[in-house]
């Protein structure tokens, strides 16, 4: 058992511990017959730190043993189970939040850089492939107008919807209809959309570790502990496809913008700790073939609407609400997609995971694109990690009555 484990770890690559290297040296002579003279035979068992002592080296060895079990897990479900089975107090991050400047905080939690505008367009298609059919903007506009008018005007409701229920009674079915009809219309141009799966209000969960703190009180006071975060999101709609979206920029693209560094504990945001089940979920379980994300659609709640923020003198927070929602939701989604493929903080992604998001409050739409370049956010894995996740976002775009009726 130990020998088998050592052989597998030898094949893995750099970053071996003393234990495994010495173990490989011990078992080497069994296989390499004529090269006995080349590999020095160890005459003593390997000198390693204790497993049960109360020392930093022992703790390090225990951590590495746990990481080895994750690497050795046979299936993704088992890997996720080992990563999430121990429950500790963690910060619950809400994508739709009223906190001031939440987008900067969320960028620091997720190591994301925010760039305004849309990502650079993909290189033009090769001339020998047939050109895609022209985009029928008029038909798309007609479909969008139909959806708007259907919900706002044509549908006769039993009683007049009160103002505080307007969002969920009118804007929510409108967004459902819009997504369904646009997906149907655009599937001719994009075969991936034709085969896509459309989810309505399915949960998305993600759990990750980032940064460290000194525990302030309790029986573990004074010791260093990792900060844990969990996002439990419920996007209004999401489109999942079976083939990954192509990357916007290369994996190691260095962005000149820096990730904001916050000098306070996340409690100042305000962010609160709770201990409950750690889940990682993209909207379906791991067995689903549609395991890559395409687009998410979010509807902002009444608590965060424009008029309310303006009344509270927080006009500059309107954009922040959209941005924070996009960064948190899309990071959770792309991170969960990457974990479904077997990547985690010690086994960083080898290809970027890309998803898009549309966030609306019923009248204003903002479009975001997210590229996940790194999952290595723990203190240990982030020491020499130059990669950053990137989020592109636009300003709000209005969908108004005048434009529809024209």
């Amino acid at each position: 058992m130990a020998a088998a484990r050592c052989w597998r770890l030898v094949l893995r690559g750099p970053g071996l511990s003393l234990h495994t290297a010495a173990g490989a040296a011990v078992t080497a002579p069994e296989v390499t017959g004529p090269d006995v003279a080349a590999a020095p035979v160890a005459r003593y068992p390997p000198l390693v730190a204790s497993l049960t002592a109360d020392s930093k080296a022992a703790r390090q060895r225990r951590v590495e043993r746990w990481q080895a079990t994750v690497h050795a897990a046979k299936s993704v479900d088992e890997k996720l189970r080992i990563l999430t089975k121990m429950q500790f107090m963690k910060y619950v991050v809400y994508p739709q939040t009223f906190a001031l400047n939440a987008d900067r905080w969320y960028q620091s939690f997720t190591k994301t850089v925010f760039l305004s505008g849309l990502p650079p367009p993909p290189p033009p298609a090769k001339p020998d492939t047939e050109p895609a059919p022209a985009l029928d903007v008029a038909a798309l506009r007609a479909a969008a107008c139909d959806c708007l008018l259907q919900e706002h005007f044509f549908l006769r409701r039993k009683k007049r919807v009160p103002l505080y229920l307007e969002r969920e009674a009118i804007a929510s079915p409108f967004l459902d209809q819009l997504v369904a009809s646009l997906t149907g219309l655009l599937s001719a141009r994009n075969p991936a959309l034709a085969a896509a799966a459309l989810d309505c209000k399915r949960p998305v969960h993600f759990y990750w570790l980032r940064g460290e703190e000194i525990i302030p009180r309790g029986h573990r006071k004074g010791r260093v502990d990792a900060l844990r975060y969990q996002i439990n999101d419920k996007p209004h709609n999401q489109i999942r496809i079976s083939k990954q979206l192509p990357e916007f920029v290369p994996l190691d693209y260095s962005v000149p913008v820096e990730v904001p560094v916050m000098n306070c504990k996340p409690d100042k945001l305000p962010l609160f700790k709770r201990q409950y089940e750690n889940t990682i979920f993209i909207g379906t379980k791991t067995a689903d073939p549609h395991c890559y994300g395409h687009t998410q659609f979010h509807l902002l709640p009444d608590k965060l609407k424009r008029e309310r923020l303006l009344k509270q003198n927080c006009a500059n927070q309107i954009e922040v609400v959209f941005r924070a929602n996009a960064i948190a939701s899309l990071f959770a989604w792309t991170g969960a997609q990457a974990m479904y493929q077997g990547f985690w903080s010690e086994a960083d992604v080898t290809r970027p995971f890309v998803s898009q998001g549309v966030i609306t409050d019923g009248k204003y739409f903002s479009f975001f694109c997210y590229q996940l370049n790194t999952l290595a956010l723990t203190a240990q894995a982030d020491q020499n990690n130059p990669r950053k996740n990137i989020c592109w976002g636009t300003q709000k775009v209005t969908v108004t009555w005048n434009r529809c009726l024209s």
């Binding site: 259907q150 006769r156 079915p173 997906t183 599937s187 799966a197 949960p203 969960h205 889940t279 379906t284």
Partner: protein, 422 residues
């Protein structure tokens, strides 16, 4: 609330008047006047000065504070002019503007008909034909209408709805039933090769309302039935004129001594006007298919298949009648162009398919041309779904997945979806 008749309200009220009711709660009278500890103290009696006729007592009202020696003022009772919604009581039924002396029997989405399909056929003056019409079945069997990898896609949909879409090990019917129907409709819409954009799907917010006379009784279908697909063009009639004329000889099955209105809600407050649920000018005016879901978790809360089929017949009929009256006016006559409406009812595993053709709006008499309904009942999409593998003596006896998968059911579903467009 306004539609509840007196007998229905009494039936729902507490069992006993004396002492405590069934749940140990105080009597109804206690709620109306107030529990003793919360009663306000009675006002003091007016001064004896007021009993002397002809005298005007001098009060401290003008001084705005108490003055010993002056009489206590008596103010007229104050009428605030409005009542908060919390304290508003509904007027008695007789004073409601829509009150009518003739009782109307209303069918809403939770009505279970005792005689099921037979009663629904009598109420709508319809003749039943088992099995879907050949036109629709030929659409189902035509390979040009099939989606590529249809069986694989449908299996994925079943897996997604029954197992994958939730973090729980075994998702409940309340979540998987709407997910499976939405996914099947999405599959039909996005992958069917017949490219047509003549339809839109609708959320379950529309309220249908139609009334008709059956003999001397007034019957109304009222309420929302679930998701509804509407189309830009009406569905073509299925039965020819000869078949329609041949229904004159059919005799509707009665079920004496059961009254045909058993199971319907009797009420005196109702509105006779028809309402399709949409305003004029809606770009998709013709109802195409209704999707009725029975998604309660507990079996007693779900409709039996017979009751579900009866509900489908009545709602499809209601939609067809409202549409016919909109197109051809309110007078009762035999329709030149029959109106066709389809319906699919399911509980997530068993599907019922229905196509109804409305031939006549003359429903008062039992003679004459009847309407036609083609009904395909109890089509299983799969027999059972194992969410966890069945392991006996360390060997997997049943793997995770559906057993008894029948692709034929989805072909019929797709055929109903494409009917009218292909």
């Amino acid at each position: 609330m306004a539609l509840a008749s007196g007998s229905a309200r009494l039936a729902l009220a507490r069992p006993g008047r004396l002492g405590l009711g069934s749940c140990g709660a105080p009597r109804r009278g206690a709620y109306e006047w107030g529990v003793r500890s919360t009663r306000k103290p009675e006002p003091p009696p007016p001064d004896r000065v007021y009993e002397i006729p002809g005298l005007e007592p001098i009060t401290y009202a003008g001084k705005m504070h108490f003055m010993p020696g002056l009489a206590r003022p008596v103010f007229p009772p104050w009428d605030p002019g409005w009542t908060p919604p919390k304290f508003r009581r509904l007027p008695p039924l007789h004073e409601h503007p829509l009150y009518k002396d003739q009782a109307c029997y209303v069918f809403h989405q939770r009505c279970r008909l005792l005689e099921g399909v037979k009663q629904a056929l009598w109420l709508t003056k319809t003749k039943l034909i088992e099995g879907l019409p050949e036109k629709v079945l030929s659409l189902a069997d035509d390979p040009r209408n099939h989606i590529e990898n249809q069986d694989e896609c449908v299996l994925n949909v079943i897996f997604h709805a029954r197992l994958w879409h939730s973090t729980e090990d075994i998702p409940k019917r309340e979540t998987y039933c709407p997910v499976i129907v939405d996914s099947l409709i999405q599959l039909c819409k996005s992958r069917s090769q017949a490219s047509f954009s003549g339809q839109t799907d609708l959320c379950p917010n529309n309220t249908l309302s139609t009334t008709w006379n059956r003999g001397s009784t007034l019957i109304q279908v009222h309420g929302s039935s679930g998701a509804q697909l509407n189309a830009k063009d009406p569905l073509p009639p299925i039965a020819s004129r000869e078949e329609v004329e041949a229904t004159k000889n059919h005799v509707l099955e009665t079920f004496y001594p059961i009254s045909p209105t058993v199971g319907l809600q009797e009420c005196n407050v109702y509105d006779v006007n028809d309402d399709t649920g949409f305003r004029e000018g809606y770009p998709y005016p013709y109802p195409h298919t209704l999707y009725l879901l029975e998604s309660a978790n507990l079996r007693p809360h779900r409709f039996q298949p017979d009751q579900l089929r009866a509900k489908m017949i009545l709602f499809a009929f209601g939609n067809a009648l409202a549409q016919a009256r909109l197109l051809y006016g309110n007078d009762t006559k035999v329709l030149e162009q029959p109106v066709v409406v389809q319906s699919v009812g399911t509980d997530g595993r068993v599907f019922q398919f229905l196509v109804l053709q409305l031939n006549t709006t003359d429903l008062a008499s039992d003679e004459g041309v009847k309407n036609l309904v083609w009904l395909d009942s109890d089509q299983l999409l799969y027999a059972h779904f194992w969410c966890l593998p069945v392991v006996r003596r360390k060997a997997v006896v049943e793997p995770v997945g559906p057993t008894g998968f029948q692709p034929e059911t989805f072909r019929k579903f797709l055929a109903l979806y494409l009917h009218g467009a292909v």
